[in-house]
Symmetry: C2
Subunit: 708 residues, 2 copies
């Protein structure tokens, strides 16, 4: 199992936020439709809350029959949670009082803070100060509140809260409220949510904290999160690592996969959205199941609630229509999943249950006996679900057949009650008749289309495979650098400096020397012998070829001419550049393959490595792979294998296998170096020469950008 060796972040204990013993409502009111009244109603009337509730409102003596206090200072004792619904102007003072008397959490529903204007930004900064000074932790502001459906308790003004009360094992962490409510409303088809945080501006507590809390909560089995932007990527990664350690899948949707989304999300939540590629890299590395839409998030979470996958599930398709059987099987194939082959025992049971004209191999088509002979249908389904090779049964239902569909739904439920293998109906019809509701109520979580099935099932199985791989080798994601890339002056190391730094860190580089004169060049070339590369060294020149500053294949005989030529070219192209001399180094043997290794600082997730083969593979096919640092040699081997062009390294068309061990070692050394170099903004080692087995891998060029 996963170990808990890695715990670099201290997360707050949020037990009393989600399950308070006492709640203050600042701004409680009896005025119909007011936020203060809606919040009170939800806590007092619609929740099953057994603790104390203290309304605060200077203009009233009591609210909903409860003694009302003029201000927080007058409360008889501190409360676990203070719900704040007064206008923005009074929020700081109220929270300060609450902090002073020792309240633990403030849930600030009020809007008009950093999302609104400069005044709001300043007030929000004050809230952070108050929190740091008094220890009160802040949820919000600018949010619809917090919901614990397992109690149930809704600290929210949402008029929809009362309609969506049912307990469940799914925890949901969102930022805005609207899309969270969208997912909660999937309770219509049986999705069971237990906790929902919707943390708005996140001036203090953030998605990462809620994910971490849900990872601890024994009633939560699966965590969903919808993120518009991260306040602290490293903290999020640590929370996901904790969820993984506890065997709880995190299913994530991140807004900002296109420019439009990134821009809109940034303006909506004032968070840093980061790069979609890096985000996907991080999700994959942490085992966060990245999904494509809200309904898919719920689909996948519901499947996890049914059963945790092993990663090698084979699928049975059980249909009563030839078309549905075909199209469903088609989608299983398109997902790259495997249809189970039935055992002879199953085949015998099917042959006994079904008429001769039914299709008894996988995908099963029972034909219309689903209507005419429900018992036979049930017996055939039971046989299919009991097959030792079947890891999950799909039951596509193409249309609403009224009462017949109800009978089918009851058969599915009856068989499911007797087996452990999940039976997953796909209610393909737009018409949601009673059969559909029967399936939803039975906890069978009907999927809504074959395409949705295809995507959800693939992700479910993939997570099982990911977990299985982690069991033997857990690689903690340590993000030591936090959010890098802050603005500031930078300096680009020259190639000599860069290579010296890399060499000191154990990265194989060519051993260059620098010539200040043509005579130097001849002397150095003579000592090195063989074919040489000669390149200009200047702090102002990064793209050396563009100014005629590179010559390859020179020898001692041509070194003087080459030196003079480089100096002449560069003087002409860049008259103002300071020239430090001409670098001379032995050329790598011919026949190598060129790769590149880059490290950049993502504003959200810190140092990330990009690796690939150079030139066309990147530029035309975007054939690269990425990882958060640190990267071990074993991880580097995985990265190499992930390239579509990996076969070029492993012996394409009779060519020799490349020195993969050396390449992986080089990648790991670069990772170590990047981690150990705090001021590193960016580095680009391009090309890395990769020889055949035993020949090694060498950094031929390196550009390093550091803080000035």
């Amino acid at each position: 199992m996963l170990t808990d060796a890695y715990q670099p972040y201290v997360f707050p204990n949020l037990t009393r936020l989600f399950s308070p013993r006492s709640i203050v409502v600042i701004g409680a009111s009896e005025k119909p439709h007011s936020i203060g009244n809606l919040a009170m109603q939800n806590i007092v009337e619609h929740s099953g809350f057994k603790g104390e509730v203290y309304p605060v409102n200077p203009k009233q003596d009591s609210v909903m029959g409860l003694t009302c206090y003029p201000d927080v200072a007058s409360l008889p004792k501190p409360a676990d949670v203070v719900v704040v619904v007064i206008p923005a102007g009074g929020v700081c003072a109220a929270v300060e009082q609450a902090g002073e008397i020792g309240c633990a959490f403030a849930v600030i529903l009020t809007s008009g803070f950093s999302e609104a204007d400069d005044w709001g930004r300043a007030e929000e900064a004050k809230l952070v100060e108050i929190s740091q000074r008094s220890g009160i932790r802040i949820y919000g502001p600018n949010c619809p509140g917090l919901v614990n459906l397992n109690l149930p308790l809704g600290m929210t003004f949402s008029p929809a809260f009362k309609d969506d009360i049912a307990p469940g094992p799914i925890g949901l962490a969102t930022q805005g409220g609207g899309l969270g409510r969208n997912m909660i409303q999937h309770n219509e088809r049986g999705a069971q949510f237990g906790l929902w945080s919707s943390s708005g501006n996140e001036c203090d507590l953030q998605v990462a904290d809620f994910v971490h809390h849900m990872a601890q909560d024994p009633d939560i089995k699966v965590i969903g999160c919808l993120v518009e932007g991260f306040k602290d990527g490293a903290r999020f990664a640590a929370a996901c690592a904790e969820a993984a350690r506890r065997g709880k899948p995190v299913v994530g949707l991140k807004v900002g996969r296109s420019e439009y989304g990134a821009r809109a999300a940034a303006s909506h939540t004032a968070s840093i959205t980061g790069s979609a590629e890096v985000n996907s890299t991080v999700f994959r590395q942490l085992g966060v199941v990245e999904v494509d839409d809200l309904d898919e998030l719920v689909d996948v979470a519901m499947l996890f609630c049914r059963k945790m996958p092993t990663g090698d599930e084979q699928i049975a398709v059980f249909a009563s229509s030839g078309g549905a059987a075909s199209l469903c099987a088609d989608n299983v194939g398109m997902a790259g999943l495997t249809l189970a082959e039935f055992t002879s025992e199953t085949s015998a049971r099917l042959a006994e249950a079904l008429p001769a004209y039914a299709n008894m191999s996988n995908p099963i088509d029972t034909t219309s006996i689903s209507i005419s002979h429900p018992d036979a249908y049930r017996e055939a389904l039971a046989a299919c679900a009991a097959d030792a090779n079947v890891g999950l049964v799909l039951a596509p239902l193409p249309m609403d057949y009224g009462s017949y569909s109800v009978v089918n739904a009851e058969s599915l439920k009856a068989v499911q009650d007797g087996v452990d293998v999940p039976i997953v109906p796909i209610w393909m019809s737009e018409r949601q008749g009673e059969g559909y509701h029967t399936l939803a109520r039975a906890g069978l979580g009907p999927l809504k289309s074959l395409r949705n099935m295809r995507k959800a099932l693939r992700r479910w199985v993939d997570y099982g495979a990911w977990r299985a791989a982690q069991d033997s080798e857990w690689r903690p994601a340590i993000i030591r650098t936090g959010s890098g890339g802050e603005p500031g002056a930078t300096r680009t190391l020259n190639e000599i400096e860069g290579k010296q730094a890399l060499a000191a860190a154990g990265v194989p580089v060519t051993a260059p020397e620098i010539a200040q004169t043509a005579e130097d060049a001849v002397r150095i070339a003579g000592a090195m012998g063989g074919r040489l590369a000669m390149k200009i060294v200047s702090p102002q020149i990064v793209h050396k070829s563009d100014v005629g500053g590179v010559r390859l294949g020179e020898t001692v005989d041509t070194a003087k001419f080459a030196y003079d030529q480089i100096i002449t070219n560069v003087r002409e192209a860049s008259p103002k550049a300071e020239l430090s001399g001409v670098l001379i180094e032995p050329m790598a043997p011919e026949g190598g393959i060129e790769a590149f290794v880059g490290v950049s600082c993502d504003p959200v997730f810190g140092q990330v490595m990009t690796f690939g083969l150079g030139g066309i593979y990147v530029e035309m096919f975007a054939d690269v792979t990425r990882r958060m640092l640190p990267i071990t040699q074993a991880m580097a081997m995985d990265m190499i294998g992930e390239l579509k062009s990996a076969r070029l390294l492993t012996g394409y068309r009779g060519q020799p296998t490349r020195d993969l061990e050396a390449l992986a070692a080089l990648i790991a050394r670069v990772s170590d170096f990047a981690e150990a170099t705090p001021g590193l903004i960016e580095m680009d080692i391009n090309p890395v020469w990769v020889g055949t087995e035993g020949e090694g891998a060498i950094a031929l060029d390196a550009v390093l950008v550091v803080k000035a």
Copy 2:
């Protein structure tokens, strides 16, 4: 506009099938729940049919108050349609009688034919004979019937028919019935179907005939088709070309995109499924909008009913939740579509209507004024929809807010009534409250998720772009070869024969000569001069390199040795091969780029060309493009541009531009040659050498497989 120059197929006139004046029901019955009774009920009670109905049943005098005839021969006059619901054993005789008295169409619902067993296959073959002999056209057998919802008339036994009666502009052609009913049930959200054919085994009439009919029917604007397998691919292509000519989009879903689906569909419908890649090629070439699932087919068809796209629509997002605005905009970006920039007039109207804290640029977030100030919401929406830059307005609605959602829905409808630009709501919630039904009834065709929106909208816009391109240059899809690739003996031409055939067709090839002896080789090499390629010629050897049968870069000096070496190598590796000699030809100049051109015979769609650059581009990145023949030089240019690696031909990293004109001309000549060579099974020209501009393109090797 598209011309009607191309009409190689004669399609039957199906007017009297879809709109008969008289109907016979063979097997009409009053027995409750019998197929004969259900069919009669649908025609007599649930349809608006005004013509004559003749029940036929030897055991009854009248059925449902109508005079019943003992057999078809006793009918007073021939009918337009004969609906057959008697058991399979009597079908042939009944249809034969119907044909003899001059009935036009037989709709055979009965099962137990080619889908069942050998007896059924023989009976179905008899039906085909009867049809050919008497001229009666056959629909089915083994199908749920035919539905004309615009009359309405249901010649079907489906008990669901009566629940789905509403007219509409969408025609739907399926094979099985279950999945068709699934799509019809999207009438729940306002999808309006007018015709539905579901043609089962298709022993005579097939999907292509129905597509063609719907292309003629003035009440049909859009055609959907779900195909498990094609009876005649060329016919289908011709029908789609006719629909395109008449400006009616065809939206298609083809089962068999994975091995599982292909196998299941083949066993379900006994059709040839063909290759998914070729199918997608054909769809794209014919402008058939290929979709990924049933609900997507309906989504796209509904958008076409709203408005025909121009291809350059810019999108507005109009939301009342910041999260929904962000995620919706994100999906617009992910679809590669453009968010409209509002005119200053629109901005002024929005600023007047909305509060200052709303987001007034695209994506619009009205905030909760959608609830508090419905008039302002409506005015803002009207401003947005009236903007000159906006081609379509998306209105994502993340949750069901009960009566508030109804008010919003009514606002959408009210604004839509005044503008031409489609306003498309996205009902994202699983809960389908009254607001949802209001939208559906208003004809606004709510989409069901952002992902569905992303896919449907992209396809809608793409179709507009395709049509716009066709307006200037319509390329008819002529499939002269029909279904090729029938089994039979084949013969592989040797390289000399192949190149001679290509040269005769105007394809540039190297001019090889053949040496029978080492002395020959020296003489030929001397005459040719320069660097030479030498290759074994043998009818048994296709992969010449594998047996040491190829030597490159030889000269007159090395020709003897090379000849002897090739003969020795081949004798050792393939002692039994007949050797025709050694081919000698000048080598192409160095520095060319290698492409390949292949033509294969798809069992469904006939000759298809595959083009790409060789080696790694195909093998690792599957970077190829395909077209049905014939291919003009202009089409070939498009194909070249479609490659991901196209930049290698157009001057990558300062390399010279390649001779694209010559390459395109070569492709077009190969197409001409393939079309003019009836016995051609397959050809593979690999490599094609492509020089720089002016240097030409030359077929360096060619393998042609022809019928023996």
